[in-house]
């Protein structure tokens, strides 16, 4: 596995505020990597530093094996990006805007029309000659994505790409990202739609107030779950029985049962203890933690 993005102690200060504080990111080839965090936690600032728009106060960045921002001219042609929303010339159509961008990037002139057409088809945007300023939020977002896909990319950096997309647009975005990932593109994405992220991402990192509080496979983040749901009629008996199992405690009482904190105990043994204490256990299951729960727990919200 080769490292596509790696940062060491990446830090950005604005005055006395550290927007990003000692972040070590590690994104491998083929990852669909989510950078998560509450508002103002430093996601966009991190992306801007990766792309050479904002200069880091300290720390190192390796992008596609080269040091940034000094190797920007070598690495950035292979990187497509969407940074805090799309931005285009309002009086030009989407097609004209992409054509201008393509010309500015010095791509071959002869294949320009075809490239622009393909990029627009890829994001399913067909707005004809309508000027950009007349686009809806979702159309703007799609055009931004089309610009990121103007040429084959090794890495995509997408800051909240689903912003403003309707449910079918969100689903199309999900499918597009998966398809791009399958074709070998590494994707770094930030989003507040945690259910979407949970569905598609392979790895995730969570920022809180500029610091990295977690970075691992999405599965591993989720399997730190330590609670079980017990469905039973004998709630009082169950509470008594739980009291006699060392470590285990009641997290929550629901109309049809309890949620227990296992606190390291083996689930099957807890189940056996309940049954042998005469509790009528109708259902006993590990509580699947959602990414949202992990997120809220780790970011202290």
């Amino acid at each position: 596995m080769t490292s596509v993005v790696s940062t060491r102690a990446l830090t950005k200060r604005y005055g006395s505020v550290a927007a990003v504080d000692g972040v070590d990111l590690d994104i491998q080839e083929g990852d669909l990597f989510a950078l998560l965090g509450p508002n103002g936690s430093g996601k966009s600032t991190t992306f801007r530093m990766l792309l050479g728009l904002v200069y880091a106060t300290s720390g190192e960045i390796q992008l596609l094996g080269h040091s940034m921002p000094s190797a920007a001219s070598r690495t950035l042609p292979h990187v497509g990006s969407l940074i805090e929303g799309p931005a285009f010339y309002p009086h030009h159509s989407g097609r004209a805007n992409l054509t201008l961008l393509d010309a500015s990037s010095g791509n071959g002139r002869r294949t320009r029309r075809a490239r622009v057409r393909e990029a627009l088809e890829r994001v399913r945007l067909d707005a004809g000659r309508l000027p950009y300023r007349a686009y809806s939020t979702g159309m703007k977002q799609r055009l931004g994505l089309a610009a990121a896909l103007l040429r084959p990319r090794r890495l995509l950096i997408l800051d909240e790409p689903t912003n403003g997309l309707d449910p079918s647009g969100t689903r199309e975005m999900r499918d597009l990202l998966l398809q791009l990932q399958r074709s070998g593109t590494t994707i770094l994405v930030s989003s507040h739609l945690l259910t979407e992220i949970e569905l598609i991402c392979t790895r995730a990192a969570i920022l809180s107030e500029g610091r990295l509080v977690a970075q691992s496979k999405v599965q591993d983040l989720l399997s730190t779950s330590q609670s079980v749901i017990v469905v039973t009629h004998d709630i009082a008996d169950a509470i008594n029985a739980v009291g006699s199992i060392p470590g285990v405690s009641v997290l929550e009482q629901t109309p049809d049962g309890l949620v227990l904190d296992l606190n390291g105990a083996e689930a099957s043994e807890v189940n056996a203890s309940l049954v042998s204490a005469g509790v009528g256990v109708r259902e006993f299951s590990l509580k699947r933690e959602r990414l949202e729960d992990v997120f809220l727990r780790l970011t202290g919200a």
């Binding site: 050479g52 728009l53 950035l76 042609p77 500015s104 010095g106």
Partner: protein, 267 residues
């Protein structure tokens, strides 16, 4: 990159509206002069205007003298001040930079585009003024400002040098606007910054108390092209004007480059 920037500038309706307004003012003045037959008394009013009634060959120079102090520098400030700040406020700057277009390269492309605009504007105003001057007042040999007659052919090269001189004079303002343009993401603020420099320079130039700094003021030699129409040509101030603009352009652009290549793009 320069080609794309040039195309963006040339395709903008704004560019042509500004140039049309710049050329329109002298045309309006010429028509008024022709209809009323009342010119400023010799030695008064805008340069050359008194002589234009008798000779249209002087009208291009007169037209440039008309728009030079205020109208033209405002137009140049608007175009140059908007160049980086406008992209910044739209957010398109960040997408240009990650293409990637190097920051130095982008700045040079913007500068070249503004330069083309300046030369284009001055040239078009001069051509329009020539046509209007010729048709309303007729072309005669130049009497020259000092009175002795000069051959008619001489007006051509003097006018060409005037066009170049006026354009280069505007490049100092353009460089100032470009510098401010790298500091702010509000195009209006950048334009205002350049105009503040301009007004300050013109006010100081009028004050007797500012005598010591006069030769170093951005606007001090702007009207020196009048000397091109003397007989013989008085080159001293024109040459100083060229050199002074060169120094201003180098300093202002150096500062613009130093700022733009090191600043965070957070728009």
């Amino acid at each position: 990159m320069f080609a794309v920037e040039l195309k963006k500038m040339l395709l903008r309706p704004r560019t042509w509206v500004i140039i049309a307004l710049l050329a329109g003012l002298p045309v309006l003045v010429a028509v008024l002069l022709r209809v009323t037959g009342i010119g400023p008394r010799p030695g008064e009013g805008p340069a050359f205007l008194a002589q234009v009634l008798g000779n249209g060959a002087l009208f291009p120079a007169a037209a440039l003298a008309l728009i030079l102090p205020i109208f033209l520098p405002i137009a140049v400030s608007v175009v140059a001040g908007e160049s980086i700040a406008g992209e910044n406020s739209l957010g398109t700057l960040r997408y240009l930079l990650v293409l990637p277009v190097g920051r130095t390269k982008l700045l040079i492309a913007k500068l070249m585009t503004v330069t083309v605009f300046v030369f284009m504007a001055v040239f078009i105003v001069a051509v329009v003024a020539y046509v209007v001057g010729a048709s309303l007042f007729g072309i005669k040999p130049l009497p020259g400002v000092s009175g002795a007659a000069i051959a008619a052919e001489d007006a051509t090269w003097r006018t060409v040098v005037t066009v170049i001189y006026v354009a280069v004079s505007m490049l100092g303002v353009a460089a100032a606007a470009l510098l401010f343009s790298t500091f702010t993401d509000s195009p209006l603020a950048a334009v205002f910054g350049a105009l503040a420099v301009l007004v300050t320079s013109q006010v100081l130039d009028l004050l007797e108390a500012g005598r010591a700094v006069h030769p170093y003021l951005l606007t001090h030699y702007w009207l020196a092209f009048i000397d091109l129409f003397r007989f013989p040509v008085l080159w001293r101030d024109v040459v100083r004007g060229f050199l002074l603009q060169g120094v201003y352009i180098a300093l202002l652009l150096g500062a613009a480059w130093a700022n733009f290549t090191t600043k965070d793009i957070t728009s």
